[in-house]
Amino acid sequence: MKIPSSRFVKAKPGGGEILKASQFQTTRWSMVLSCARTKETGDTAERALTELCRIYWRPVFALICRRGYSVADAQDLTQDFFVLLLKGNLLSLADPARGRFRALLQVAVENFLNDKQLLARCQKRGGHLQFVAWDDWVAEAPSQLSIYGQELKTCPPERIFDIRWAATVVEQALRRLAEECERRGRLRMFTALSRYLSLERMEISYTTLSASLGVPESVIKRVLHQLSVRYRAILREEVSHTVANPAEIDDEIRYLCAALASAQ
């Protein structure tokens, strides 16, 4: 099923800076944008977009739920949205000036929900479209996001989208780090040390960790430092895949931090 995707991705600069050609590097989103600029439809770009959707479906689902739909309806609408996104001509409509993947996806889903005609068609049809390998996507990306307090109940949909996005970035980075450790038979080490990733040295009891893992404190310090550096590198890599230009990585992280802070 093909529909004019332009209805979903009306231009709205999402905090994106205009690119300089020399700064363009191959990340998933830049690949999608690059194809869009040259009007090519490449398998690689489609795979890149699919991969991005595979990782970032939860914020879309969260936003749709917050707009008042039941969980069952939100599941169907999320399915429909991604099927349309992946099968539509988003690639040719994506424009570097429109900025980051997060911003574009949010505009697209808002427009999708506001398109009463299309929505009625989707709901009448009963959600028979199947989002690509949905079960696998759920299985691959378990989430343990928790939010304390009342603010969750009063957050507007777009704020929920951003919070969910921030958590997805972090959980994706943690998941990749865990997999790297597990591949080398060091999952136990990751499990023991990962909870200290965002702590300062003075806040960590190296003596306890040393006794627990059976290695000297000096080893714990070295490993924890390298684990932290590796986590930060993976985190930046994950963020880089959603922006058009590596120079935007820090801004994107700051944006997400601000979204979390204003959720208080």
């Binding site: 949905w134 304390y148 038979g185 136990r188």
Partner: protein, 202 residues
């Protein structure tokens, strides 16, 4: 309801995949006073975990990190799961990993299979794993390794122990069978019948 595991659906019931917890004052991020109340696994603050990525100047590639992991003497083989001490990994698939392990009270060597960590939230995978364990435990067949014990890790992930087959896997023997096709053919009927028995039980 299509497409979602029940645990995911349960999580989604409360504002779309985000668990809403009561508000203890102490849960406010004490480290940086960032004020964010969002947490991921192990209670880590999402905002703090994000902020560590800003302005990173130190580089880290996966090869260097792999070398570091190799050099650190904290292998998973010292890992304890319930009453079992993990000795070494002997195989893994898409769903789980199999260890050679020692049952500490009896000192018996066993094969121990557990679900991979990143499948922990997949209701479907956990259910399939439980089905496999239950089915294998119910079978008494000369060609099927007996299941000794079914349990869960401290993290709540299921595992089961079975008789350890010291002869290695079928894959390990592929060269032997390649040199002796007659043996490979002779093996096929009993393998097929055993598989039929197993899948009937599931």
């Amino acid at each position: 309801m299509r497409g979602f595991g029940q645990r995911s659906v349960n999580a989604a019931m409360n504002f779309s995949g985000i668990t809403d917890l009561p508000e203890p004052a102490a849960q406010n991020c004490a480290r940086c006073q960032c004020g964010s109340l969002a947490r991921v696994a192990s209670g880590l603050c999402v905002s703090c975990l994000l902020r560590t990525g800003i302005d990173l100047e130190v580089q880290s590639d996966s090869e260097d990190f792999d070398a570091l992991l190799e050099s650190v003497d904290i292998p998973d083989r010292d890992w304890q799961l319930g009453n079992y001490r993990i000795l070494e990994e002997i195989g893994r698939g898409g769903m789980g990993v199999i260890y050679r392990a020692r049952h500490v009270p009896s000192r018996r060597i066993v094969g121990l299979k557990r679900v991979l960590n990143y499948h922990s939230d997949s209701c479907e995978t956990l259910a399939r794993f439980q089905r496999e364990a239950t089915a294998a435990a119910s079978l008494d067949h000369p060609n099927i390794l007996p299941v000794y014990d079914v349990g869960t890790t401290e993290d709540g992930l299921p595992f089961f122990s079975m008789k350890f087959a010291a002869g290695g896997s079928l894959l390990d023997s592929k060269e032997t069978f390649r040199e002796s096709p007659r043996r490979a053919v002779q093996l096929e009927p009993s393998t097929t019948l055993t598989l039929r028995e197993f899948f009937t039980a599931i």
